[in-house]
């Protein structure tokens, strides 16, 4: 049985200017121990989706659909139960690690907090566990007494990961854990995540706009565009031979160093990202799509099987599959 199942999840923000459909009907499943990568450009709804998983969205957001964790619907769950689920079963590493830590409390206390809150340890044991966790993420134990500002960005991100691991959850959601980090540090953090997932049989949802990073860490990839998943499949396949033109453009944006094809030929996607409040009709990607057909302007394509364990939302895919 899959650990997490998203069924037609949608999120709409209601703001003064109107409604913002940030996530529009996302269905995904995640097996336990598996790693799912969610890619997409800025504003495509990745973070919103992640926050929706633990019902952490602000009050002006309306969530629809079902989010099943072990068969339990998180969206209708009692508050007490939800609090118990939060962190103990699913924890989250946020986008900017800088701000995810309380600036005026010591690292150790913050890492220990979920342990104490969920009654998983007495203060003494918690302190030991904190040291363990810090070592696990490669930080010296005396760092427990430091304040967040005394750490570098990479170290802070590691603290966040240690914190996420504290209650030995079965699912970790990592929202852009490496953006804004230096290349070298980024590599360190990614290696760490990869190791942890492999060793501890933790399921992972990792969000990034860097497809190459996701392809490296995750088994499965989902590419989002304008609040929808437009392509889903095993990471290697999606990265190297994407079926949706958007995924293709995204993948091409990361050149392979040494590949003469990309030398002096940067590739990108023309046009502007969609305005979520004013989405184009039909396939929302069609104004930027290099291979758009006339019907794209009116036809809203759903995910369509696109090969083994793969799906993509594009008329071309559909045409091809139907042809075969």
């Amino acid at each position: 049985m899959s650990l997490l199942e998203l069924d037609d999840v949608s999120v709409t923000y209601r703001i003064a200017a109107g409604e913002v459909p940030a996530v529009r009907g996302v269905s995904l499943t995640l097996d336990s121990g598996a790693a799912l990568g969610v890619a997409g450009e800025s504003g495509s709804g990745k973070s919103t989706l992640a926050m929706a998983l633990l019902r952490l969205l602000p009050r002006d957001a309306r969530v629809g659909g079902r989010i099943l964790l072990d068969g339990e619907d998180l969206l209708t769950m009692k508050w007490g139960r939800l609090r118990a689920v939060r962190w103990a079963e699913a924890s989250i590493v946020f986008q900017g690690a800088q701000h995810g830590l309380n600036p005026v409390r010591r690292i150790g206390d913050q890492v220990a907090e979920p342990l104490l809150v969920h009654g998983q340890a007495k203060p003494d044991a918690a302190r030991k566990r904190v040291h363990e966790l810090l070592e696990q993420v490669g930080l010296p134990t005396w760092r427990a007494r430091s304040y967040p500002h005394e750490l570098s960005g990479g170290q802070r991100q590691r603290v966040m990961i240690a914190m996420a691991l504290a209650c030995s959850p079965r699912l970790i959601i990592a929202d852009e854990p490496t953006t804004a980090l230096d290349v070298m540090v980024q590599a360190q953090v990614l290696t760490l995540i990869k190791e942890l997932v492999a060793e501890q049989n933790i399921s992972l949802i990792m969000i990034s706009h860097d497809l190459s990073v996701l392809a490296d860490v995750c088994d499965q990839l989902a590419v989002m565009y304008a609040g929808r998943v437009v392509e889903h499949g095993p990471s290697g396949d999606v990265f190297h031979e994407a079926r949706h033109p958007y995924s293709r453009a995204l993948a091409a944006a990361f050149p392979t160093v040494g590949d003469p094809a990309s030398r002096m030929a940067p590739k990108g996607l023309g046009g502007d990202p969609p305005d979520p409040m004013n989405l184009p009709g039909g396939c929302s990607f069609h104004p930027r799509c290099p291979v758009a057909l006339d019907e794209c302007a009116t036809l809203d394509v759903d995910l369509w099987p696109a090969g083994e364990r793969r799906s993509a939302a594009c008329v071309h895919v559909r045409a091809k599959e139907e042809a075969s």
Partner: protein, 351 residues
């Protein structure tokens, strides 16, 4: 009254190693010393400023002091010599600084007594009034500000923001007059039930009853002071909390499974308190201004009233003395607030 709020800017600091604890401690000390230096400089400026401003007084200072009473030339001379006005300006300045440093603030012409004594007598009631007022205002303001900021946009929030804006716009003295009219004098059929003059009844009873007596005298002045002052604290606390609530670590705390009130109590409020507490101290000058008005209206025998009397007589030595004292107290409070903030906030502590 409506200085826009300035949040403290956290200083980014990079530090490494466990040895930082100690160096942080030294950092605080160094900071405190440098702040104390700054405060001394400010106090020096106040001294210089006071000296020259009070020398700007039109006319002959001795006659100013005499306030038009006829004085024999002998008395005038005596007075002049006593005030050292026969010396050159620079010597006068040196004397003035020396005297002030020796806490000799001169003799009040009106009361014929050393200004310092007068201040000593009045400082107690003022501390009692402003202290109580401040404690109430701060706790009320912070409590209400917390509730309002936590549930931003709720009815409670709109209500308290509205009230505090209203109170913010009310001139202290007017509010005092109204309260006095309604609760002290009584209006129409409502009898005035609260005393509105002084700190105690003339035939004050002893023991616990005395405390009650003083407390009852304090109700109206305190209410006035609190009403005007607490609005600020509420607004500061509210906006500071709103600022904190939008921070990611609050979301993280929720994600950790903390209860709503735990998130507030453990994370948001302590962090929001830091700038608020500093501002509380920074606004001491404002409270002092309020005290002058309130004490005047309710005949509260404090420093504010003394100052008001000095202004109205005018008794320039007394005015100068009280002004010096109030200013220095405010400077010291500000400096303390700065240093305390530095001790409390780890972000700036090691910087």
């Amino acid at each position: 009254m409506t200085a826009p709020l300035e949040a403290a800017e956290p200083a980014a600091a990079q530090a490494a190693g466990p040895g930082d604890e100690r160096s942080a401690g030294r950092g605080v000390l160094r900071y405190a010393l440098s702040k104390a230096g700054g405060a001394l400089f400010s106090i020096a400026m106040v001294l210089v400023g006071t000296f020259f401003v009070f020398r700007l007084l039109p006319g002959d200072p001795v006659r100013n002091l005499a306030q038009g009473r006829a004085m024999t030339p002998g008395q005038l001379d005596l007075e002049r010599r006593r005030l050292g006005l026969d010396k050159p300006l620079f010597d006068q300045f040196v004397d003035f600084v020396g005297d002030t440093l020796r806490l000799d603030l001169g003799t009040s012409y009106e009361y014929k007594r050393p200004v310092l004594d007068l201040i000593g007598e009045r400082i107690g009631p003022t501390l009692l009034l402003t202290g109580t007022g401040l404690v109430i205002a701060v706790s009320l303001g912070i409590w209400q500000g917390t509730r309002a900021g936590w549930r931003q946009g709720s009815r409670f929030d709109r209500f308290s923001t509205g009230t505090s804006l209203l109170l913010w716009s009310v001139p202290t003295f007017w509010l005092g007059l109204l309260l006095m009219m309604v609760f002290g004098v009584g209006i129409g059929p409502i009898p005035g039930i609260l005393p509105f003059r002084g700190i105690e009844s003339v035939d004050a009873p002893d023991g616990f009853a005395y405390i009650l007596d003083v407390a009852s005298h304090m109700v109206l002045p305190c209410l006035t002071l609190v009403a005007v002052v607490y609005a600020q604290y509420l607004l500061v606390m509210r906006s500071s909390l709103v600022e904190e609530v939008s921070q990611d670590y609050v979301t993280v705390a929720r994600a950790k499974g903390l209860r709503d009130d735990e998130v507030r109590r453990r994370h948001a409020v302590p962090n929001a308190l830091l700038p608020t507490v500093t501002l509380v101290f920074m606004r001491i000058g404002f409270v002092v201004g309020g005290a002058v008005t309130v004490e005047t209206i309710y005949t509260w025998p404090g420093l504010g009233k003394l100052f008001y009397e000095a202004i109205n007589v005018p008794d320039f030595t007394l005015m100068q003395g009280t002004f010096l004292l109030i200013t220095v107290a405010v400077i010291v409070m500000n400096t303390l607030a700065d240093v305390v903030y530095h001790i409390l906030d780890p972000r700036v502590r090691s910087a």
